[in-house]
Assembly symmetry: C2
Homo-oligomer: 205 residues x 2
């Protein structure tokens, strides 16, 4: 029995280990330098071993992206929830920002990476859509889930997404820390922008 | 005289040619793979030649960034101007977005790149600040240029910057095109978010 277990789990372990190693290669040397050969070298396995699980480097990259979206959606789902959709949206926005701050590489892989063709084959879209649906869900509670409001829900989802995506990018950029902006302003900037965002949403609804 | 001219202009030409070649290397192989050696190879000059102008690869990268900020600020300054600060802010936002869309690499180099230490030495900060001051200028016209409003101006500058930066990132990402969002929504998304942004700014002012 133990032998059988090893036989079953070892390939699965390698499959997952490739993901971890791929993220390390990307973090160290950039996405352009990701190759299955480097992943194998990092894991101390034969050059052929990763091919058992990933037909190509792009399939591995697509799997890395897919898991990023899954973890991201799970992180958003794990936010503190509120009955009031406005409060819930605020909680979602802050939860989004903590992910971007704590996982900058994963964040970039989701939103600033050229999708490899293999991403379609591996349904990265499904996992990305699930993450987007978390935001849609809160806005449906706010605007109502009628056919008439469907476009407004999606337009506002893009508006909210853009604002928090931009906040994540600006606040995590080195550029903002270089400018002559007072520390007191930097400290309040996220709260301020989230408040303005809420006003924009209410004022127009 | 022609000889003298050649002597003077050739080094300047090489200095500028290095910038162009560096951007090509970054575009083709990622910022991690930028080296003075590759730049020299691309230009067909000796390995030592770029060192006459750039003490290190990081100095060249810093100069590339500096010029990006200069062109970016010039692009913002060249927007269609309006007396009304709200209209001018809208024009500035759209001008910002066209830069991000038309120059994605330059845009990334400004806002998504780890600044090399040489960037401080070469005053990239000065050029980045000038670009930020374009936005500050419009908000000072809106809020007034008093000491009391200085923090509000900077807070709103960060809010506006975040929103347009986010819009640029989301609309130029591959991700947004993969999601099940209707073409009519995608078409209106920028206008919608800019409108909401305006409401947020007015409503809270």
């Amino acid at each position: 029995m133990p032998r059988k277990k090893t036989e079953v789990t070892a390939p699965m372990a390698l499959r997952d280990a490739c993901i971890v190693a791929a993220q390390e290669v990307i973090a160290e040397r950039g996405i352009e330098n990701l190759s299955l050969r480097d992943v194998a070298r990092k894991l101390g396995v034969s050059h052929q071993a990763p091919y058992r699980h990933y037909p190509s480097r792009d399939h591995l990259l697509a799997e890395v992206m897919r898991r990023c979206f899954q973890r991201f959606a799970a992180h958003l789902d794990a936010r503190r929830r509120y009955e009031d959709p406005e409060q819930d949206l605020n909680s979602l926005g802050l939860q989004y920002l903590t992910y971007a701050q704590e996982h900058p590489l994963e964040y970039r892989l989701m939103f600033s990476t050229t999708w490899p063709a293999a991403a379609l084959e591996m349904d990265v879209v499904g996992d990305a859509t699930h993450a987007f649906d978390v935001l849609r869900g809160v806005l449906k509670r706010m605007h109502g889930d009628s056919a008439a409001m469907r476009e407004t829900v999606d337009l506002d989802a893009m508006y909210i997404w853009s604002t928090v995506h931009g906040l994540a990018g600006v606040m995590n950029s080195q550029c903002v820390g270089m400018l002559d902006i007072k520390a007191s302003v930097l400290k309040r900037a996220t709260r301020h922008a989230m408040d303005r965002m809420g006003v924009g949403l209410r004022g127009a609804g």
